[in-house]
């Protein structure tokens, strides 16, 4: 087990190294940020001064080393555009994104899991077709379109909900539905397939032969086992919603990390983009690592075969 954890941890570190290198290089392909940093009408010597001030005159390996050092010390650098530490900006927006992501996760659970279970239990019935239609719509209807339609219907026509911004729970309803909708569909599909697989297993047949009530078979024996991959997906979904709800946050003027990333990309704010991507990467890698270790702990075959 110890060896397994060490091996997995090394994989995680390698993944983060590749991610940091990729994001470091990719943002620099978008152009020279000094053009955005220097004052209007700056001469070449002014641009050089700005490059020096922000350390952009140094060779790329040196810049990369500084970037890695910053990450290791918990610093993400200084935003070019806001002239503030990226970590400050990030953690200012994090609670907002967390609020939205948790609400969207709840929505995706409420829609995806029950519908997935019903689809699996009533496979090929009308309920299953309804479930599959919901999944299809969830995966094919873009969140931004759904968001705009919801604004029109629930804010403008019915006047039930505020259009945008952050405030009370009413502000949270539409962005969380628009964001959770897609993830609900993916959860629905996974719950359905996972439940179908479990329902066909021998121990479920045995439980039924023993005369256990259908509800107990489904809820206690089947669902519990089908839940493991669903929860793994939900964890990853949460991280994605937390860090990359760009379009939904822009449409609903939600002051989250996705919108911050959007602003960073358009402003060529290297430290900001790098910082947000690295934070998201670290979250995903750490969650994956924890899940892997948990799996290996629960099922010894995993640590022997991988």
């Amino acid at each position: 087990m110890g060896q397994f954890i060490i091996r997995r941890t090394l994989y995680a570190i390698a993944t983060l190294f590749i991610l940091s290198l990729t994001i470091f290089l990719v943002v620099r392909l978008t152009g020279d940020p000094v053009m955005l940093l220097a004052e209007p009408g700056a001469q070449e010597e002014d641009l050089e001064l700005v490059r020096k001030e922000w350390g952009l005159d140094r060779p790329l390996p040196v810049q990369y080393a500084a970037f890695v050092k910053n990450i290791l010390t918990g610093e993400l650098g200084q935003s070019f555009n806001y002239e503030m530490p990226v970590s400050t900006l990030y953690f200012q927006r994090l609670p907002n994104s967390l609020e939205l992501a948790l609400a969207a996760t709840l929505i995706s659970f409420l829609i995806g899991i029950p519908t997935g279970i019903i689809s699996a239990v009533r496979v090929n019935s009308v309920w299953d077709h309804v479930g599959k239609t919901i999944a299809l719509l969830g995966l094919s209807v873009p969140g931004f379109w759904l968001g705009l339609v919801m604004i029109l219907v629930f804010s403008v026509w019915l006047g039930w909900l505020p259009t945008s911004g952050q405030g009370g729970w009413r502000n949270l309803v539409m962005p969380s539905v628009a964001l959770g909708w897609y993830f609900a569909a993916s959860l629905l599909r996974l719950t359905r397939s996972s439940m179908l697989e479990v329902l066909r297993s021998e121990y479920i047949k045995l439980a039924r032969l023993k005369g256990l009530p259908a509800f107990v078979v489904i809820a206690v024996h089947a669902f519990k086992n089908a839940l493991i991959p669903v929860l793994t997906l939900a964890g990853i979904n949460l991280v994605i919603m937390l860090n990359a709800a760009v379009i939904i946050e822009v449409i609903f003027a939600w002051p989250g990390i996705g919108r911050l990333l959007y602003e960073g990309i358009f402003q060529r704010d290297f430290p900001l983009v790098q910082g947000i991507v690295m934070e998201a990467g670290v979250m995903i890698v750490v969650i994956n690592l924890m899940v892997d270790i948990l799996y290996a702990y629960i099922d010894p075959r995993i640590r022997l075969t991988r």
Binding site: L148, S164, A253
Partner: protein, 531 residues
Amino acid sequence: MQRDGSHSSRMALGRRSVLAAGAGTLTSLQWGTSTAHAAPAGKVTLAWHTNIAARWLDPQQHDGTASPDNFLMAMHDGLIKNFRDKLYDHTALAERFEFAEDAKSATFWLRSGAKFHDGSPVTPADVQWSYEHYHGAWGEVLREQTQSVEVVDDKTVRFHFKDPFLDFPILFGTANVCGAGWVVPAKYYREVGQSGFLRKPIGAGPYRLVSHEPGVKIEFEAFSDYYRPVGIRQLTMMSIPEAATRVAMLERGEADIIYFVPGELIDRVKNNSKLRLAPVVSGNWWLEFPGFQNPSSPFHDKRVRQAISLAINRDAINDAECGGMGVVDGNWINNDVEYGMEWPKWPYDLNKARQLMAEAGHPSGFNVDWVTPTPNYYSRGERIVSQLQAIGIKSKLQVMERGVFLKRLQGGLKEWPGVQIIFAATRIGGTWSNWYDTHFKCGGFNAKDFFCVKQLDDMFTKYQASYDRSERKRLAEQIQRTMLEEYYFVPVFRHAFVNAIGPRIAASKWQDVFPTITTGYCYPWEDIRLV
């Protein structure tokens, strides 16, 4: 001759100075008893149409565009400024000013009791420091022309110029051109530095900053010591990049004023009896061809540029983008600035355009790498891309965030490799020369090395050196005429910056909320009232 001309010019300037000084006195009298007015009340929310750049709260970093002035007018103040129908010489922090007969100095007398939001008085030393440390648009020009800034006494500050500097008041007082005349508290700025100032800016304007969520929202409250009555107690500016959301906010009453209603949403506002459209005929839009002087550029041939002009259906663009509320005229410079010329509407003739393309050796057209419209009016760029296909010009749309776009403009040709068309737009107040200097002159702020037509630049140098008003007018018109006849720029239309007003705002007509003729924004902010 020149001496006579100079004299005539000086006479004109003298009259203007007297008028300006007189206006200042009137303004002081009119607003001097602000305490007699009702206290500010209520809350107004503006939905701003792009991201909010932090630097727009710092006049020292003015980027020379018509964006910072929306924010500067709320929380800062200048000595003189554009205001309602005054192009640049409304006396604000200065109660009067005098521009010397020889245009070699300008003296400003500060308004008594003018204060910054931290309670400290606005002093000549603040004016001097703000001017000397200004590093935004036109800063280089001002530095080159200025000999010294003299603090005469505790109310008076005088600017001395190396040579007659006729355009000084226009530059100094036009908020959507330059921020050098906008006064920041010197001691505070020195203490906190530029970054600190961005985080917590202090001004002398009608509203003081309460909170600032970078890029998201700015909240202001009325500054009780402002020298004019301030109508609204709380003013909030929110960045709402999505137009449909802005319109929905207005319909719901979550916003009271929204900027930029795009063409496809105009009817929705128009059909709502509670809302009011405010189609401010504003900036001009034109096509420019960076690097057209290079013989390898397809735009080097005048016939190609003319063909493009003939292929643009300007009325269709105006109808689609502004509900027909813009103005299709012929010049790329607004006619509401000094020496801005009237020019007839350009024809739309696809057959002639195709013929010219064939004559120029492009019977099947050619490829353009990118058409880049001024952000965030991307659909306008799409219309250009689509219309140019009629003469075989195949191109792609390039979209950029506004800050990136401006900075790339300022980077010159190296930022625009290949064959490029820029669908440029601006709204600059004051004088035609600001337009030429910024957008066309070799080395200009947003022109850099794009065009560099020596003959015109030489004429412009002569224009700037001249103190003879008739000669200046003649040169100004000659330069504009040449630019248009040679199709160096292809003017498209003068758009209506279509804004909208909600029912809570007191106004008998939309112009009551958008009274300042040099801008598409609704300042003076202190004059906004609720019903």
